[in-house]
């Protein structure tokens, strides 16, 4: 392995955030093409089933994470690193922020139909989202966006990694079912009144 590969390896090891090719090139004072070759060599060396740590292309850069085989043990050591611990409310709030960012709490509450305060607070505490200034709308509410921790936790290389929203469009059958339920509720209300 070249000296540059060793340097890149060390940089990725000590960094707590994924590093982009540009950042690595600037620190090592090497041309981006050589850095990319070094990254290829390292990605090969730190692949799943080959090593306890895996070099992953994530969040617009490269970062080490625990391999699938070692992740459970690592998760036991760390305090709540799991995306699995997220409640349904937290996941829905996270999905809204991921697709609509930057987005304010009132906007999330409007979509979900219930207040999002505790879900937002939980996501902030886990560093999955962060504040991103204030909206121009009345009351100038704080708006939120997702973080690189979010991208890493869900293994996304940038927001392009999210599936297209059209994937979650309702089918005609879903529409019919929804409409039928709505009518049912309306009729029940009318009956009660």
């Amino acid at each position: 392995m070249s000296e540059l590969t060793h340097t890149v390896e060390a940089l990725l090891f000590v960094a707590s955030e994924p590093l982009s090719v540009g950042e690595l090139a600037a620190v090592t004072d090497a041309p981006p093409e050589r850095v990319e070759r070094a990254l290829d060599a390292l990605t090969d060396r730190y692949a799943e089933d080959r090593s306890g740590v895996v070099l992953e292309r994530v969040a617009g850069g490269y970062g080490f994470r625990a391999s699938k085989a070692t992740a459970e043990a690592c998760a036991r050591l760390l305090d709540r690193p799991l995306a699995r611990g997220l409640s349904q409310a937290a996941l829905e709030t996270l999905a809204i922020i991921a697709y609509l960012q930057p987005v304010s709490r009132p906007e999330i509450a409007r979509i979900r139909g219930v207040a999002a305060d505790s879900a937002v607070a939980g996501l902030l505490e886990r560093s999955l989202i962060e504040e991103a200034g204030r909206a121009e709308t009345p009351g100038t509410p704080v708006v939120y966006r997702t973080t690189t921790v979010f991208e890493r936790m869900f293994g996304l290389d940038g927001m392009e990694g999210l599936p297209s929203p059209s994937q979650f469009e309702l089918t005609d059958a879903d529409h019919q079912a929804l409409r039928a339920r709505l009518h049912l509720v309306a009729d029940q209300r009318a009956g009660e009144a």
Binding site: L82, L91, F168, D174
Partner: protein, 249 residues
């Protein structure tokens, strides 16, 4: 500060605050043209100049300003406020449907995130990671109140009263008494056993008797024999054989 004293100098109005209120209520001044922020600034400036804050007038001012603001907002955005009330059941239905559809889409996205997140934990360095709290050492539960411990220490820290021993007489046991006593015994018998001779005496007297024995040994009057440590001590007059004395005894 009395609100009536608050003089205003606005584009649309010049005069005391309460007159402006009256004119607004009689709709002789268009509220939309009254810059409320300027009234607030004038009030704060006046209060600052007088260097006093009368809470009663301040709250009255706040209530009036809030009411003015609400009236003004209703005048400016009246139509938008009326929106919800004017909606027909069909419109409300369509609106609700649209919201539910939007919500369902995000539920779908949340489901995708949930599945993705639970494939396997993606663990990575995220700065100094907070570690799981280490198990606490086992603590034995005491039913005692810690204050009782403090009370005990408190009691122990008080020095006990000094006991007056001036009236206690020190028993004096002169060694010479025992020397005389042992001589007396040896006058009638050739030997005796030390333990028997001192039986019934207190420790101090026994010690004095032993010193007397040592003294007599030193003077060459007696010849004590002991077979082993803590064994009985046989005392015979000097020159007399112990075995002989034993046989006699």
């Amino acid at each position: 500060m009395i609100l009536a004293d608050l003089a205003l100098d606005l584009d649309v109005f010049q005069g005391p605050f309460d007159l402006l209120l009256a004119l607004v209520l009689r709709e002789e001044v268009e509220l939309a043209d009254v810059p409320i922020a300027e009234i607030v600034v004038a009030y704060v400036a006046a209060a600052y100049e007088r260097d006093e804050l009368d809470l009663e007038s301040a709250s009255e001012f706040l209530v009036l300003i809030a009411a003015l603001l609400e009236i003004k907002v209703r005048q400016l955005f009246g139509d938008e406020f009326a929106d919800d009330e004017d909606m027909t059941p069909e419109q409300a239905h369509a609106e609700l449907m649209a919201r539910l559809i939007e919500y369902r889409r995000f539920q779908g996205a949340a489901g995708w995130l949930g599945e993705r997140g639970s494939e396997f934990p993606r663990v990575f360095r995220a700065g100094p990671a907070p570690l799981v709290p280490r198990p606490e050492p086992v603590v034995v539960e005491f039913s005692e109140d810690p204050w009782s411990l403090a009370t005990c220490i408190d009691r122990l820290l008080i020095p006990p009263p000094v006991i007056d021993v001036s009236s206690v007489r020190r028993p004096l046991v002169p060694v010479e008494t025992f020397v005389a006593h042992f001589r007396e015994i040896l006058r009638s018998r050739r030997s005796f056993q030390f333990e028997d001779a001192v039986a019934g005496l207190d420790r101090l007297a026994q010690a004095a008797a032993f010193l007397a024995l040592l003294e007599m040994t030193k003077r060459g009057e007696v010849d004590p024999q002991q077979e082993d440590v803590f064994e009985p001590i046989h005392v015979a007059a000097a020159g007399a054989a112990v075995r002989e004395s034993r046989a006699i005894a």
